[in-house]
């Protein structure tokens, strides 16, 4: 771990700069603080090691780290796209490329989601960037919801998980696209843009492009990453406290099973590239119920909620997640009834 000693070995360096340059924020408080955190953690090491003797704690830590590690590469991809849009795409270009009328921009943006090959963590910073460069929020949200569900990587993994059932892939694609478009249109009809927390990053035009790219990437990564940690912790807690085997006791068919698997998708917070394999294993449930699992998962789950709350604000995230859950279950039910 060669880079690790960096903060510890050079805590005195930064104050060389004058604090006045950055106004209220005293320069140089960061490195000592990080150093202090690391020292404190090292001191607590025996306590931590002792805790891992408890299997539930060890299980929690493993799932927590696993969700974080798994999501970080996708977050990096999303942040890179977001920062590229901020730094290299002329302002207003994307808004101009989309149809003028929001009712047409929504399906166009939802379909464009197929182009971002990642899972849900990556699409949040991109959607936030789209809003901040002036894309109508309804279209950005349609993109936010569709991208993790209908991109080729996810569809291929769905096909692999359900061999011999191409209808499942088609159903997932259609139900996810439909739910995204419906949510976008719902936002046009009912949404209030004042629910969205304003972003402070409308600095697209200033400074050299590389500097804008780096500053935006750093900022977006830390913001989204912090909330990803909250979400991963929540998901790990739920997984450790609530045995997943609880779903085995629920009836496998009927509308209730759609809701149960929808809620399961929210709670376990799987990566959208992997959830098809888990759905394939839930053989005691009908295909339509498993479709609900696949449609809800990429759109609403506890880690995604934390990311959305951090990016767009909590007031927004509650309303948006509840509405999305209802729409996603309904779309899955209808498409499943039609196709499966």
């Amino acid at each position: 771990m060669p880079p690790v000693p960096t903060p510890a070995s050079s805590p005195e360096a930064p104050p060389a700069d004058d604090a006045a340059a950055s106004g209220r924020r005293p320069r140089g408080a960061g490195l000592p603080l990080v150093t202090a955190l690391i020292v404190a953690a090292v001191a607590l090491r025996p306590v931590l090691t002792g805790l891992f003797g408890h299997p539930a704690v060890a299980n929690w830590a493993t799932v927590f780290v696993a969700i974080t590690i798994q999501a970080l590469p996708f977050l990096v991809l999303g942040v890179a796209v977001s920062a590229s849009i901020a730094a290299f795409v002329p302002p207003g270009l994307i808004a101009r490329l989309l149809p003028k009328r929001p009712a047409l921009a929504v399906p166009a943006a939802a379909a464009a989601g197929a182009a971002l090959p990642g899972c849900e963590c990556g699409s949040v910073p991109v959607a936030a960037r789209l809003v901040s460069i002036g894309v109508t929020p309804a279209a950005a949200f349609a993109f936010l919801l569709s991208a993790p569900a209908i991109n080729p990587v996810v569809l291929v993994s769905t096909a692999v998980a359900f061999p011999g059932r191409p209808a499942m892939v088609l159903a997932r694609f259609l139900a996810s696209l439909a739910a995204s478009v419906v949510m976008g249109l719902l936002w046009i009809a009912l949404g209030r843009d004042d629910l969205i927390k304003p972003r402070r990053s409308d600095h697209t035009e200033e400074g050299p492009r590389l500097a804008v790219f780096l500053a935006t990437a750093q900022h977006d990564l830390l913001q989204a990453g912090g909330f990803l940690v909250i979400g991963a912790g929540t998901a790990a807690t739920l997984q450790t406290l609530v045995p997943r085997s609880i779903v085995d006791s629920v009836a496998g068919t009927g509308p209730l099973s759609l809701l149960v698997l929808g809620v399961l998708a929210v709670v376990v917070a799987l990566c959208s590239e992997a959830d098809a394999f888990v759905a394939a294993g839930l053989k005691q449930f009908s295909l339509t119920a498993r479709l609900a699992f696949l449609v809800v998962g990429p759109m609403v789950d506890v880690k995604l909620f934390a990311l959305q709350a951090g990016t767009f604000g909590t007031r927004f995230a509650w309303r948006f997640s509840l509405a999305t859950f209802a729409v996603a279950v309904a779309c899955a039910g209808l498409v499943g009834w039609w196709l499966l």
Binding site: R27, T49, L221, V229, A309
Partner: protein
């Protein structure tokens, strides 16, 4: 977060990812195929963090300051009524990325203590592998030499025509010991993961016919033996040899 704290955090997160990828420890948390992706993403973050640190230390021409202040002002006037409960970005002088501190949580956890691979705690709690319905069908195992297979394949073969494909061929399995209330023998398990440990599902096999003490819970073992039909549906291996081993590099199937 101040500029240098942000840069340091990004650097540490990147270093953690690179280290996990290079040491192979990542296999405890995510599927093995993700090593390269982790390495690339981690290296990008290290680069981003290093540039940020250099800038914060004044080694590079600082153009970012103007941004910093623009951020702060936009923040100050944008946040008045948007203060969500429990969120860290309510103050005017913050960058709205105070949540970024939380990223140090997993970094520190991994630097100090390595959370173990999933063990027997979750075996009974995860949704069980359901191999009964819509299972695969298998060709008979070639006779004569011992076949190594995953616990999942063992369970699937056991479900396919009551294990007819096994014949008398010896089978070798590797898994960890997990509790079960069996009259004879003990159980071993191994998780399948599709993406990360959060989606793990365990396959379980009962091992009978061993002599001596049952290995301790969570001990990794390799057992060789033959398939045997069981009364209660848990696939059963009648063991001829049993060896305790250290945990494999990739603890999942």
């Amino acid at each position: 977060m101040t500029e240098d704290a942000r840069a340091t955090t990004v650097l540490l997160v990147g270093a953690m990812m690179v280290r996990l990828a290079l040491t192979g420890a990542y296999a405890k948390y995510v599927r093995t195929g993700m090593g390269g992706v982790l390495l690339v993403a981690g290296a990008l973050l290290v680069a981003l963090g290093l540039v940020g640190v250099a800038r914060a230390l004044g080694l590079v021409r600082r153009r970012a300051d103007a941004h910093g202040d623009a951020h702060a002002q936009a923040d100050a006037h944008g946040h008045g009524d948007e203060r969500g409960p429990g969120h860290a970005d309510g103050h005017g002088h913050a960058h709205g990325d105070r949540a970024g501190w939380l990223l140090l949580g997993p970094v520190l956890a991994l630097l100090l203590v390595t959370p173990p691979a999933l063990g027997s705690f979750g075996v009974g709690r995860s949704a069980a592998v359901d191999v009964r319905s819509g299972g695969r069908t298998f060709d008979p195992l070639p006779a004569g030499r011992t076949a190594s297979m995953t616990l999942l394949e063992f369970d699937e073969r056991a479900a396919d025509h009551a294990g007819a494909s096994f014949g008398a061929t010896p089978v070798r399995l590797t898994g960890f010991v997990t509790p079960g209330n069996d009259r004879a023998g003990f159980r071993i398990a191994r998780y399948q993961i599709a993406c990360c440990a959060a989606d793990a599902v365990a396959a379980v096999v009962r091992v009978t016919g061993t002599t001596g003490n049952t290995p301790a819970r969570d001990q990794w073992v390799t057992v060789t033996g033959t398939f045997q039909r069981s009364a209660d549906g848990v696939p059963e291996l009648r063991a001829t040899s049993l060896a305790e081993i250290t945990a494999p590099r990739d603890p999942y199937e």
